[in-house]
């Protein structure tokens, strides 16, 4: 057991750090041109898109979880941009790499990596949340085009997306799971109506999208007709593993301790209150356990060993920690919880910013499969309990 990274990785860290010092300044954070150029250079050096072939614009590096970890640490510290956020890089590219036709890979992956095109996710519908196989949006092949009618929901950032990848029912007579296809389509066409959904926070991050005779070429299908369910599950796997990092919670926890030092209770600093100390330490137990649990999983993966059932639990562990932090933060900020936080990224915002963390902790329990879906996965894959015929229970 050795928690240092070892000489090789520390050399690598110096290399990354030097690169960042040379090629990046946090002042460029809102300059898309600089960002694109920086990403190009970072990819050339093998720091970004490590598991994507060079021919598609990736850096095609051998798998090395520790290098990836060092890169993430140093980029975070330098506040430098990593891979572009969004569904394109996170979900569509892995799906195309696994199931896409060669022309699809060549045409869509490179500009997606360069951040030139953004993708909306078209999975959920008002009647199909956790239960994606209930999708009702229909696609009909008319000549050499799919004609699509229906509605999607919970697509994030759709206003800014040029394309969508979507689950569409193309085989209405087939059994539920075998009637879907995975289609790509251009959102910038007549018949597409995008309606922002305002969220609990007052911000609008998600949309409803309505399709009225929307068209896409016959070969903009990933996998075969009726294989959409399986193709989408390849992506869901990527989505699930992408959520949740112990580092986030460690940082939140450190800020929580700072908060307890700053605020007063009963006329004294909250940090001196034995009740607050106990609650902080209680949360710290969970946070530190999660931290070393993820270290353990990471190391075991590197060593080719199976980290066991805990690997199914990371998201739920994080969700619970987020709840605990939100509850104590509300206690600490007191009357500031009555104030609606603004969403500016500046530093002038008061303690009510913790209410963003509160709403975020609520959202995490819902996003990417509700906590009930997570519990099903843990019970079935982690603990080996039998699948239920009705496998649901989320919302």
């Amino acid at each position: 057991m050795d928690l240092s990274y070892g000489a090789e990785y520390e050399r690598f860290r110096q290399e990354v750090r030097a690169f960042l010092g040379d090629r990046w300044s946090p002042d460029w954070r809102r300059d898309p041109g600089r960002i694109a150029e920086f990403r190009r250079q970072a990819t050339e050096r093998g720091y970004l898109f490590r598991n994507i072939p060079r021919r598609f614009g990736g850096s095609e590096q051998p798998p090395d979880v520790l290098r990836a970890q060092v890169i993430a640490e140093e980029f975070t510290r330098a506040r430098a941009p990593m891979e572009p956020p969004g569904n394109g890089v996170r979900m569509l590219v892995p799906t195309l790499l696994e199931c896409g036709a060669p022309w699809q890979q060549e045409r869509f992956i490179p500009p997606t990596l360069r951040g030139e095109i953004d993708w909306a996710q078209g999975y959920s519908e008002p009647g199909a949340g956790s239960d994606l196989a209930s999708v009702r949006t229909r696609g009909e092949l008319v000549g050499d085009e799919w004609v699509i009618n229906g509605q999607k929901i919970w697509t994030s950032n759709a206003q800014n997306c040029q394309y969508m990848f979507a689950l569409v029912r193309t085989e209405p007579d087939a059994p539920k799971h075998q009637g879907l296809s995975y289609l790509l389509l251009d959102l910038r066409q007549p018949g597409v109506t995008i309606r922002p959904l305002k969220m609990i926070t007052g911000q609008s991050g998600f949309n409803e999208i309505f399709f009225d005779d929307v068209r896409t070429p016959a070969d903009w299908i990933v996998g075969k007709r009726g294989e959409g369910w399986q193709v989408s599950r390849a992506t869901l796997k990527h989505e699930r593993s992408a959520i949740g990092s112990a580092e986030t919670y460690l940082q939140q926890f450190d800020k929580l301790v700072e908060l307890a030092r700053e605020v007063s209770r009963d006329g004294r600093p909250a940090i001196d209150d034995p009740l607050i100390q106990d609650r902080l330490a209680e949360i710290e137990g969970y946070v530190v356990a999660h931290k070393y649990s993820t270290f353990r999983q990471l190391s075991m993966s590197v060593n080719g060993r199976d980290p066991g059932r805990v690997s199914y639990m990371n998201k739920l562990v994080g969700t619970e920690i987020g709840h605990r932090i939100a509850a104590l933060a509300q206690e600490l900020i007191g009357a500031d919880s009555l104030i609606m936080p603004t969403y500016e990224r500046g530093h002038g915002v008061g303690n009510e910013r913790w209410m963003n963390q509160f709403f975020g902790s609520l959202g995490v329990a819902i996003a990417g499969g509700t906590s009930n879906i997570q519990r099903n996965i843990i019970a079935e894959r982690g603990l080996g309990l039998p699948r239920d015929s009705a496998a649901g229970g989320g919302a």
Partner: protein
């Protein structure tokens, strides 16, 4: 022994419930939520006509002369429907004036307050969490000068009931020497502003600030109970209507048990707020402690139920147009306003004499 509501109390609660069920539908609630003022003047008038604001006003001044229990029964219904507006200060200012005011003060304010034609608000909090009467620092004076915080709808108020150093209360008619600063509010149905007094004329009122605080805690507890139960109901209703995997999700055992746990956490609290209100009216030695315990306990139940209901709804519960978020935010309000649960549990412990020094 009869720990049950009498016919008049039941009728009162039902009347208000029916009125709100008819009038305050989701579009109307969202209109207030999206509005600048967080107030629905027409609804306020309707409630005034129903006699909601006269509940603590003696009959001689146009009210029904009932007690805090009746006010709390109404607060439960308002909480259940997420009714917006300055109800809290309205009935408690009336209560304080009725019990502690001079005849001139009563004459001037009570009839108009009872009808809802005048609006009253409580001006209690001070910066740095100084919610409790023994923490107030604003000097009592003929002309007030100093800052008070987190006042409900001060811009609407015709009269303010102001807590002063030493735990006393003073009456201030809105007018000169009052600066109001509106703040962005998390709860869109209970809007707040800070108030700075710069020489506002004030009259003393012979009503104990601590007793006023206790009454406010009871009403917040009642509001929280109404809200919490409504969250359970919304989650149940959603589970009965929402289909997943070919069946309503309310048939999934995990969902059923989560809802059962939520309901079981919430339901007994009805007895707690009833008793806290009853104690305020009739059992002096329990009043302060039960008010603290009820507010602490029920506000936590509400927040937990609101959180659970959101999770039970999934994505839709996170949107603005589905009104569940309003209850989430009311839960945050009921929890924080006038002091957090741990603060009131600590007060309750002191009131119970839980110390080796005693």
């Amino acid at each position: 022994m009869n720990f049950d509501l009498d016919e008049q109390q039941t009728a009162l609660q039902n009347t208000v419930a029916d009125c709100l069920a008819q009038q305050l539908d989701t579009p109307r609630l969202l209109a207030v939520v999206n509005g600048d003022d967080g107030h629905d003047a027409a609804l306020w008038r309707t409630l005034g006509e129903l006699g909601v604001f006269g509940v603590t006003v003696p009959e001689a001044w146009g009210g029904t002369g009932l007690g805090l229990l009746e006010a709390a029964l109404i607060a439960e219904v308002l909480g259940s429907r997420a009714a917006p507006g300055p109800f809290l200060g309205q009935v408690l200012t009336a209560l304080a004036i009725a019990e502690g005011g001079t005849d001139a003060q009563r004459e001037r304010w009570l009839p108009r307050l009872a009808r809802g034609e005048a609006i009253a608000t409580l001006v209690l909090g001070e910066p740095a969490e100084r919610w409790q009467p023994d923490e107030w620092t604003l000097p009592a004076a003929d002309r007030l000068a100093g800052r008070k915080t987190h006042v409900l709808y001060p811009w609407l108020a015709d009269v303010m009931l102001v807590g002063t150093a030493g735990g006393g209360l003073m009456l201030v008619a809105n007018g000169e020497g009052i600066d109001v600063e509106r703040i962005p509010c998390l709860d869109p149905t209970r809007r707040l502003g800070h108030v700075t007094f710069t020489g506002a004329p004030a009259e003393p009122l012979a009503f104990d600030g601590a007793r006023l605080r206790d009454a406010a805690l009871v009403l917040l507890a009642a509001d929280a109970f109404g809200g919490a139960r409504r969250c359970v109901d919304m989650a149940v209703e959603y589970a009965l209507g929402r289909e997943q995997f070919g069946t309503v999700i309310g048939r999934f055992q995990a969902v059923k048990h989560q809802l059962a746990n939520m309901a079981t956490d919430v339901e007994p609290a009805q007895g707690l707020y009833w008793y806290a209100a009853h104690a305020f009216d009739a059992v002096a030695e329990d009043a302060a402690r039960m008010a603290a315990l009820a507010k602490a306990h029920i506000a936590e139940r509400f927040l937990q139920a609101a959180r659970g209901a959101t999770e039970a709804h999934g994505g839709i519960g996170y949107t603005w147009e589905y009104p569940l978020h309003v209850w989430v935010k009311r839960a945050v309000f009921d929890r924080a306003y006038l002091g957090s649960p741990t603060i009131h549990r600590r007060r309750s412990a002191r009131l119970a004499g839980w110390t080796s020094a005693a």
